[in-house]
Amino acid sequence: MLDPIRLWAVVRKELLQFRRDTRSLVLAFALPLVLLVFFGYAITWDVDDIRMAVVDQDRGERARELVDAFRAAGRFSVVATPPRTADIGPLLDRARVRLALVIPPDFGSDLGAGRTARVQAIVDGSDANTATIALAYTRAIVQQFGGGLVLAGRDARPPVEARARVWFNEELSSSNMIVPGLVVIIMMIIAGLITSLTIAREWERGTMEQLASTPVSRLEVVLGKLIPFLAIGLVDVAVTSVVGVLLFRVPFRGNALFLIGPTFLFLAGTLGLGLAISAVSRTQLLATQIGMLSTFLPGFLLSGFMFAVDIMPAPLRLLTYLIPARYFLVVVRGVFLKGVGPAVLWPEALLMLLFAAGTLTLATRAFKKELA
């Protein structure tokens, strides 16, 4: 059933075809780099330039100090200081500012008299994510400012304290999360593109029938297409990882060797899916639509690249088990940031193995039917 010489012949044919096709070469080797560099720079969800308005009705020294504390924090820039609170509305409506701080007239006198002083933060809540973060920073600044006053003034007993420590991404930089995620997303896209190039084209030109009429077995065809693809994918993962580490300073704490196996499994699963889809659906339009639906958007939205899987509703969480990018993402982030290995990541590897075995079996079966 599986003859190494025949298998090698298919592999060589694929490699030859690939080498001659400049477009495929560019797609396979240049595109991943371009995508990583481009999006690695462009996208971030660090919230570090919050435009704010300050309505200072107190105009005292304490109020100025509080505003200075915001300026000094480095994440806020005061772009407007309207005199009245009524002016905040238009500023928020037009998204000129994201946050407004209102310091009421009795702020300074309250503090001086030892009463609790009040300040108000009004935030544009439409982008809930950014708003939540902006509020968290605001709280921290106000609290720290208040704490400073307490320490400078009366003898204060330190309260119960929650000491927070962040692991894996100590400086809380979003690129440490995004860049390893991009490696996965890019691999997913390249896998989809190459699948359609190597398989769909073969159907289109009718050479799949030719291939079928040779003594080569179905399994050999599938494996022969898979092997060169795995080699390319491995090179891509290596190159994008190195660029991620060197260019974007993402920590790489684990052993790079632990990425090899999961990369193979992930690519095998994706290619298997592509093979199965293109063999099942006869018209190309449908194949591409199914491919699009089943890989692209879900890969972005259901893999945990951006939206955490564990807060999704249960039925949706079940659905994410069908997306190999989900597992690969855990592996890549784990190896990059947590420095963990097979002892921790074996369930993901196992599920990817199951996925690959499933889709490849399906593809080999569907092949027979389609050609018969």
């Binding site: 108000q120 307490v150 972005f300």
Partner: protein, 370 residues
């Protein structure tokens, strides 16, 4: 040529195109059912709220006080118990495995310390997702602080911060993201539909047939895009209704303005589909090229990653992205109820982008067809 005659020819083409779509049940499913399913699935997915964060507790104090603190912690709804143990090592393992994102460590002697002087609990956070970690850290510190104040173990802070969120008082991220999903679903659908429809005709050779018919290239373009514009507008209405009825996303603004934005937006995306078709000779190529457009259009739209956080160069680049402007419009219409006076720059940008893309596409279409 008389005007009615011209109109008649375009109508014929539009009818042919619509017939072609509605004759194929699979295609009907794709254009009418798939967007709804996509919206429902992705609508559930696109939440960045920090709620029920899996938390591992190591309580080495075993006191009434420590139990009280733990209970307060979980009563907040922000955290969910994912495991508990006596040994800090188990907490480390839970974080390594990703079973927990937060670890709460209450050391031995906590109750005694809290009664006398400074007491400390340790909060460990998996920082992989920097935003979740930032927000969870803030929640944890606030909960502990409020707890201490309630028990009289900490002085009331001298400054009280009152918070109000406008437009989205509960700060639900889904209300912000579902309208954005509408924009992206629509973009992908319109882009693929046009580029594939034109290229399919080219593959089948029927494009030449159309060329030799009395149709002018302009009429051909109109006839090719109008049916898809109609379908996509229908989709816009349907999925907006789904967003309102299923996800209960608030809708403050005007429906007419939303439709206007939809028309301008679709001119751009359909034009882009047409442009892609002029670069592609097979449907396969059309899909590949669409992919290359869809990814930057989506990532640089402000959908997941705020435009305001991008480097300056990229922020300029996003001005040419119709998705960015459309998302700003739909989000403002849904959540803020904004009108033309606030949104005219976005409408203007959409119109300009649509017009230039369409002109460019028409030119190239003319050349490749000739």
């Amino acid at each position: 040529m008389s005007r009615p005659e011209k109109l008649e020819r375009v109508r014929g083409l539009v009818r042919k195109e619509l017939l072609e779509v509605f004759r194929d049940p699979r295609l009907v499913r794709m254009v009418l059912v798939a967007p709804v399913i996509q919206l429902v699935i992705f609508g559930y997915a696109v939440s960045t709220d920090v709620r029920h964060t899996p938390t591992f507790v190591v309580d080495q104090d075993h006191s009434q006080t420590s139990r009280d603190l733990t209970e307060t912690f979980f009563a907040s709804g922000y955290f969910r118990l994912a495991g508990a143990s006596d040994r800090p090592h188990d907490m480390v393992e839970a974080l390594d495995h990703g079973r927990a994102i937060v670890g709460l460590h209450i050391p031995r002697g906590f109750a005694k310390d809290a009664a006398r002087e400074a007491a400390t609990v340790q909060v460990l956070l998996d920082g992989t997702n920097s935003n979740t970690a930032t927000v969870a850290m803030d929640y944890a510190q606030r909960i502990v602080q409020a707890w201490a104040i309630r028990r009289g173990e900490a002085p009331t802070p001298p400054i009280e911060l009152r918070e109000r969120a406008w437009f989205n008082p509960a700060l639900k991220s889904r209300d912000y993201n579902v309208p954005a999903v509408i924009g992206n679903v629509l973009m992908i659908l319109s882009l693929m539909l046009t580029s594939l429809a034109v290229v399919r005709e080219r593959e089948l050779g029927t494009l030449e047939q159309l060329m030799v018919s009395p149709l002018t290239p302009g009429e051909l373009i109109v006839g090719k895009t109008v049916p898809f514009a109609l379908i996509c507008m229908a989709d816009l209405v349907v999925i907006t209704l789904v967003a309102l009825l299923w996800f209960h996303v608030p809708f403050q603004g005007s429906f007419a303005l939303l439709l206007l934005a939809g028309v301008l937006y679709l001119v751009g995306t359909l034009g882009l589909g047409l442009l892609i078709s002029t670069f592609s000779s097979t449907q396969q190529e059309a899909v590949l090229t669409s992919f290359l457009f869809i990814m930057p259009l989506m990532l640089l739209s402000g959908f997941m990653f705020p435009v305001s956080s991008m480097p300056v160069g990229f922020r300029w680049l996003t001005l040419a992205n119709p998705v960015r402007h459309f998302l700003e419009i739909v989000r403002a219409i849904f959540l803020k109820g904004a009108g033309m006076s606030a949104l005219w720059p976005q409408y203007l940008a959409l119109a300009l982008i649509g017009a230039s893309v369409l002109v460019l596409a028409a030119r190239r279409f003319h050349k490749t067809a000739a």
